[in-house]
Amino acid sequence: MEAVVFVFSLLDCCALIFLSVYFIITLSDLECDYINARSCCSKLNKWVIPELIGHTIVAVLMLISLHWFIFLLNLPVATWNIYRFIMVPSGNMGVFDPTEIHNRGQLKSHMKEAMIKLGFHLLCFFMYLYSMILALIND
């Protein structure tokens, strides 16, 4: 059972890593002026909810399977994702707003955030991998 949990988490984590990389690539495209703000934001906003769901599922799974440490590790990031999603002003077009992304260094902070998430997911990836192998051996 435990192995199944970690296999699933591992797959989920892989998806999140890919998503983070995708965010970084798209944002840096915008930075380099290869795409315009409008299409960049609509691309990214599409993936905000999947990312949020994907990450929340892992966190909940860890809570259910009573892996406290991993759950607590995931909690801040999951909370941040949800907070960011909820706090979008009613007039904005999503977490990424094309009219504001070039203002007040928002692009840079988004970039930083995506980088941190990538690091975090990589860390989680290896942790799940280790736990999975451990669980498989124990089985």
Partner: protein
């Protein structure tokens, strides 16, 4: 794609193009001017072809969508500033229309030019809309359009209800149109055709607006061939060409075009018999008989050709004493000398390539060649030291200027006339017109030029002097005026009596003279700190304030095949570049060394060779280039205007339609545009009404679409019509509109769907949508709820709902912006209308916002008058379409936040669907790399736009500022007005994103931080006193004014819409107007004298001193004028002398002054004349004519007046002195 740019220079091009259009033939007989006129004649040709190509445009989406450019906004985004290879239109599209063919005349291979002769074009391309074809054609296309299963058959509700009846209606109308005489609708009484309008609201209905017998009109209009130009045309063009560099845009709109249609009407053929319109007024029927052919003949346009519109009589120029005195003389001797395109034949292809487009993907490596830089330093420049030594002297007297001060008649000081230094000299700059003799025409222009000759070479020399040039000079001279410490708490009269002018950057004399006018381009710090650390220490905001498209009286326009730009950063050549030798110049932004193209070596003004630094591009920091086809992604769009009008009960009650239609009727001929100009109308209440104005119809047809959930265009081709071809129908409609909805009971407003329809209508071409709205949108997409709680209006705590409630309007604005459409909002509401949400439609589409609270055409005459005046300006002012603005700055600086109405497309590129002369912008800057190795930084804005005449133009402003290394110098160069405006912009952002109280705190902190930072720099710092440098002495006053401004005030009852509107204005107004809004000017006007008066156009304008905004200055015996920018108040004290009241107001005594007085009578007394001339002078200085209110001391309206007295204490806010004490307290903490 193959491109053959070089082979069509001069004669080659005109030779190749000639067969395509007979009208070009006269040009070729032009002898000496032939090759030189190549580019302009291309435009002239283009111009005539607009008539033909308008057919293409009116063909609407069907054709336009086939262009790859329009299919996706992404494409357009990336392409507008695309790499050169993307620039060339595919031959197939180029072949589709004459416009493209002409514009890309130099681009596509020759066969295409030959292939698209007029015959083939007219035969193949635009038969449908080409006027003489039968009226049934559009309808059949309409039917086709709607019966296509892909689009609408899916929607069963429409298909079942709408379609059969639609087709039926159209069938009948088509038939009746085919038989012209039987077009009357006997069942409908002509006088009241709208009585039954709503009987079948579910089906699109077609109704005639008016019965209108009709005969032979199509022959009058369907004249497909462009008329050959009369001989006068060439003359015009030559004149305009020869005058181009000294030219100026006349701000009074297009008077020529206004007079021409009537005068040239006789040239059009086949006048239909005079038609008596049953409903129209006598005035209109005479207009109809006078101008029966609604199409404007081409001749009418020649006087208003683009180049001509910027010419200025040379004698006027001489009076102005501009530096072109010599050029003017040259032109006088050889009048038809054209300008810069004389060497077309020798043009090399590499330059053509270079003239390309902005592209971030330019791969050429920037190699700032340090060697050549060093090598230059070896040269000796004897003038450098002397000039740099004299430059920093903050001498207010004009004596160091070689030229006598040529003050213009307008209050804006010209960029050459800067006699003032750091201080605020008693001698009022710009006011000396009266005293300056007219000898400036014979000024020693030679000396100016000798100065210019050295100027570019001085630059490296100056930079060699050490980066702390400003610092050295400041130390050597006694402390400059701007650094004189001022004890704020003890200085009672802090406000100077003369208006505050922008400080002049501390540059050497030549650069100072060349620098950009502060009216267009200002920086908050005229001495740029060397590092971000220094900037942080100074605690001052760093940013730019721009007014790029302002009406200019003097603007050099450059027609050149090669627009010289830096190869790596694409900076346009400007006065601050350095010429390394005759053949190379060094970019002042990225320091790359570029070649001087061959064409640039020739100076067409002096007709000399080998003096690139005398070219107008290098002599003026504000220039306008006429761009080549490299700067176009598609043919320049025509001017397209769409009016979207609220006709719900509320709107009819307010009665704005009468004013709007009247203004439009008056200004229809003055709308900026060429013969392709198109116009359309959409009205809406709970349904959307379109108006078919296709010429050929006997009267406008109203088409009602009631399906607001899925809006469609009933006849996409005939809703936006050519202004000149359908002028009669448009006039009919405008006459009928105000009375059409008088009995409506519809209270709902479906603004969102109407906007969607407008977007669909505009997306093929782009243009301007003017939305008139009078209430909260209550139906369909984008409906809004009332969010304002009236009890919270005077709350001191939280002000909510400053941001939009929905993203609908933002999305729509971005869609519009992608299709080059701007949405201008006129909100005329009496109750809350959620401007915060509605404003988004203009904010992000580069539109403008006008708000008329409690508008009613009878009950509120002052608002009605304001609307009328604003509309006049709005309709006739200059306009630029499909514009982009890029701001560049010297390496090391970077821009991070932009303020204004636009969409930031990429890091430094602002997408402006429209640009108007009243739009201002602000940019925040940060210093990313240390600027230690340079002594000057430059900023350049380039605004690329399509003029209303269909020309692609680039307006370039360049500003040069010194870099300093000491904190004292940073303070010495503060431009306090610019800083306040930037802070206001930042505070608006803060209050929307965070909260109003945060923004207010930030404003107070800005003063506290900067003054305490300054206090720590001066050695003899007394903690008891509040010390500010002279340059910052007004800072606390202005911040207090901001805190009491409608946008940021708390405690005083402020309606949410008023507050939001004030915020919108802060974001989009240019600095001059914004300053008056923040800190009004107060004058005492009951004792005007001629002392210090100035003369403007033979009028004596008295110059009363500024009074501080405090009730202590108001005396009961006086009368005071307050200039708040968009409104004037005249306050009459109770004890005001009866003489004044009688002489100026025309009333016998104080008691008899009416409560609502908005005009001063024209009385023949000296004091009346003085007062009126002063007010007129103030009015003339701004684009939107302010409304005048005469406020009696005891009237209830006086609170309006008193709330602007910002130095006084109110129950909710500090007085100025208290505010100072508060700041002092904060500093000491």
């Amino acid at each position: 794609i193959a491109r053959i740019p070089p082979m069509f220079g001069g004669a080659a091009t005109s030779g190749a193009v000639a067969p395509t259009d007979p009208s070009l033939a006269p040009h070729q007989q032009n002898g000496p001017a032939q090759s030189q006129m190549q580019v302009p004649s291309g435009y002239g040709l283009h111009h005539q072809n607009y008539i033909a190509s308008s057919g293409h445009y009116s063909q609407g989406p069907g054709k336009m969508t086939s262009l790859p450019l329009d299919s996706q906004c992404d494409d357009y985004y990336s392409g507008l500033y695309a790499v050169p290879t993307q620039n060339v239109m595919p031959p197939s599209t180029a072949n589709q229309q004459a416009g493209a063919q002409q514009i890309y005349g130099r681009g596509p291979p020759a066969p295409h030019l030959v292939g698209s002769t007029p015959g083939s074009f007219q035969g193949a391309a635009s038969s449908a809309s080409h006027l003489h074809t039968s009226a049934s054609q559009p309808y059949s296309s309409f039917v086709n359009h709607y019966s296509s299963p892909a689009t609408y058959s899916a929607n069963s509700s429409i298909a079942s209800q709408g379609f059969p009846s639609t087709c039926g209606h159209y069938a009948t109308s088509a038939v009746s149109n085919a038989a012209y005489p039987s077009v009357s609708y006997p069942s409908l009484p002509a006088g009241d055709p709208y009585g039954q309008m709503f009987t079948s609201p579910n089906a699109p209905t077609v109704r005639p607006v008016k019965d209108h017998p009709f005969s032979g009109q199509n022959t009058a209009i369907g004249h497909p061939l462009p008329l050959p130009p009369p001989p006068s045309q060439q003359h015009h063009q030559q004149q305009s060409l020869s005058g181009y560099n000294t030219s100026s845009w006349s701000p009074s709109g297009l008077p020529v075009s206004a007079t021409n249609p009537t005068s040239t009407d006789s040239s059009s053929s086949a006048v239909p018999p005079n038609v008596h319109l049953p409903k129209s007024s006598p005035v209109v029927s005479t207009a109809v008989s006078g101008a029966p052919s609604s199409r404007m003949p081409p001749t009418a346009h020649h006087p208003v050709e683009p180049v001509t519109s910027v010419t200025q009589p040379s004698d006027l120029l001489q009076q102005k004493g501009m530096q072109y005195g010599e050029y003017v003389n040259n032109q006088a001797s050889s009048a038809p000398t054209p300008l810069s395109s004389a060497s077309d034949d020798e043009e090399e292809e590499e330059e053509d390539e270079e003239a390309g487009v902005d592209s971030s993907s330019t791969t050429s490596s920037a190699s700032p060649m340090p060697n050549s830089y060093e090598a230059l330093e070896g040269g000796s420049y004897p003038d450098v030291l002397s000039s740099s030594a004299s430059s920093p002297a903050p001498d207010p007297a004009p004596e160091p200027d070689p030229a006598p001060v040529p003050a213009p008649a307008t209050p804006q000081p010209s960029k050459m006339a800067k006699p003032f230094g750091y201080g605020y000299p008693a001698l009022q700059p710009g006011y000396q017109n009266a005293t300056t003799p007219l000898h400036s025409g014979v000024q020693p222009s030679g000396s100016v030029y000798s100065g210019f000759q050295q100027c570019p070479q001085q630059y490296p020399g100056v930079s060699q002097l050490s980066s702390s040039l400003g610092g050295l000079s400041l130390q050597s001279s006694p402390q400059p005026e701007s650094l004189r410490p001022v004890n704020l708490t003890q200085e009672r009269n802090i406000l100077p009596t003369a208006p505050v002018w922008a400080p002049v950057p501390n540059l050497n004399l030549d650069l100072k003279k060349l620098n950009c006018s502060p009216d267009s381009f200002r920086c908050t710090l005229t001495n740029i700190p060397q590092t971000q650390a220094l900037l942080n220490k100074a605690k001052l905001p760093l940013g730019l304030l721009l007014h790029p498209f302002r009406d200019l009286t003097q603007l050099p326009v450059i027609t050149s095949n090669t627009i010289v730009r830096c190869r790596s950063c694409r900076t346009y050549i400007n006065p601050f570049v350095s010429f390394i030798d005759q053949r190379r110049w060094k970019c002042n932004l990225c320091y790359r060394v570029n070649d001087v193209p061959e064409e640039f070596m020739y100076n067409p003004l002096t007709r000399s060779y080998g003096e690139p630094h005398k070219r107008p591009e290098v002599q003026n920091s504000t220039v306008e280039f006429i761009a080549s086809s490299d700067y176009m992604l598609r043919p320049p769009q025509p001017a397209v205007y769409l009016f979207v009008l609220d006709v719900s009960h509320n709107a009819v009650e307010a009665g704005y339609l009468t004013i709007l239609c009247q203004s439009l009727l008056e200004n229809l001929d003055k709308l900026p545009g060429d013969s392709r100009t198109r116009i359309g109308f959409v009205t809406f209440d709970s349904t959307i009404h379109f108006y078919n104005l296709q010429e050929g119809l006997s009267q406008p047809q109203m088409l009602i679409v009631s399906d607001i959930d899925d809006v469609f265009l009933p006849t996409p081709d005939s809703l936006l019509v050519n202004l000149y071809e359908s002028k009669e129908l448009i006039r009919d409609l405008l006459n009928a509109l105000p009375n059409m909805f008088t009995n409506t009971r519809e209270t709902h407003s479906a603004l969102g769907p109407a906007l969607q329809a407008a977007f669909k209508l505009m997306s093929p071409t782009g243009g301007r949508v003017s939305v008139f709205q009078t209430q909260l949108p209550s139906l369909g997409a984008g409906l809004l709820q009332s969010r304002e709680d009236p009890n919270q209006r005077s709350s001191t705590k939280v002000v909510q709902h400053l941001g939009p409630a929905t993203d609908f309007y933002k999305k729509l604005a971005l869609d519009c912006s992608g299709q080059q459409t701007a949405v201008d909002l006129f909100l005329l509401s009496s109750q809350y209308s959620d401007l915060a949400s509605l404003a988004c439609m203009s904010k992000y589409s580069a539109g403008c916002i006008y708000y008329y609270p409690s508008f009613h055409c009878i009950h509120n005459p002052s608002q009605a008058e304001k609307l009328q005046k604003d509309l006049k300006r709005y309709l006739t002012r200059k306009i630029g379409f499909e514009a982009v603005m890029r701001i560049r700055c010297t390496k090391g600086l970077s821009m991070h936040t932009f303020h204004g109405n636009f969409f930031v497309r990429s890091t430094d590129l602002l997408s402006l669907a429209n640009i108007n002369p009243d739009a201002g912008f602000a940019v925040q800057l940060s210093i990313e790399e240390s600027l230690t190795d340079t002594s000057l930084v430059c900023f350049q804005t380039a605004l690329l736009y399509t003029s209303s005449k269909g020309e692609r133009r680039i307006r370039v402003h360049t500003l040069c500022l010194p870099v300093v290394s000491s904190l004292a110098d940073v303070y010495a160069g503060v431009d306090v007005q610019a800083a306040i405006c930037l802070l206001a912009n930042m505070a608006v952002d803060r209050s929307v994103s965070s909260s109003l109280s945060d923004a207010r705190d930030a404003l107070v902190n800005a003063v506290v931080d900067s003054l305490s930072a300054y206090g720590s720099t001066i050695s003899n710092f007394q903690h008891s006193a509040l010390i500010a440098p002279n340059s910052l002495k007004l800072f606390p006053l202005y911040v207090l004014a901001l805190l009491k401004q409608k946008a940021f005030r708390t405690g005083t009852s402020t309606r949410l819409d008023d507050r939001v509107y004030a915020m919108c204005q802060i974001k989009s107004q240019p600095l001059v107007h914004l300053m008056k809004m923040i800190h009004p000017n107060l004058y005492r006007i009951d004792r005007l004298t001629d002392e210090g008066a100035i003369h403007v156009n033979d009028r004596v304008v008295p110059q009363p001193p500024l009074q501080k905004l405090s009730a202590e200055k108001l005396t009961r015996e006086g009368a005071f004028l307050m200039d708040c920018g968009s409104v004037f108040y005249i306050w009459i004290g109770k004890g005001c002398e009866n003489n004044f009241i009688e002489d100026v107001l025309g009333c016998p005594n104080f008691a008899s002054i009416p409560q609502k007085m908005t005009h001063l009578p024209e009385l023949d007394t000296l004091s009346s004349e003085r007062t009126r001339s002063f007010i007129t002078w103030l009015r003339d200085s701004r684009p939107l004519s302010p409304v005048l209110h005469v406020v009696k001391d005891e009237s209830p309206a006086k609170t309006e007046f008193f709330q602007h007295l910002i130095e006084d204490r109110t129950e909710a806010a500090f007085s100025y002195y208290e505010f100072l004490l508060h700041i002092q307290q904060q500093i000491c903490k």
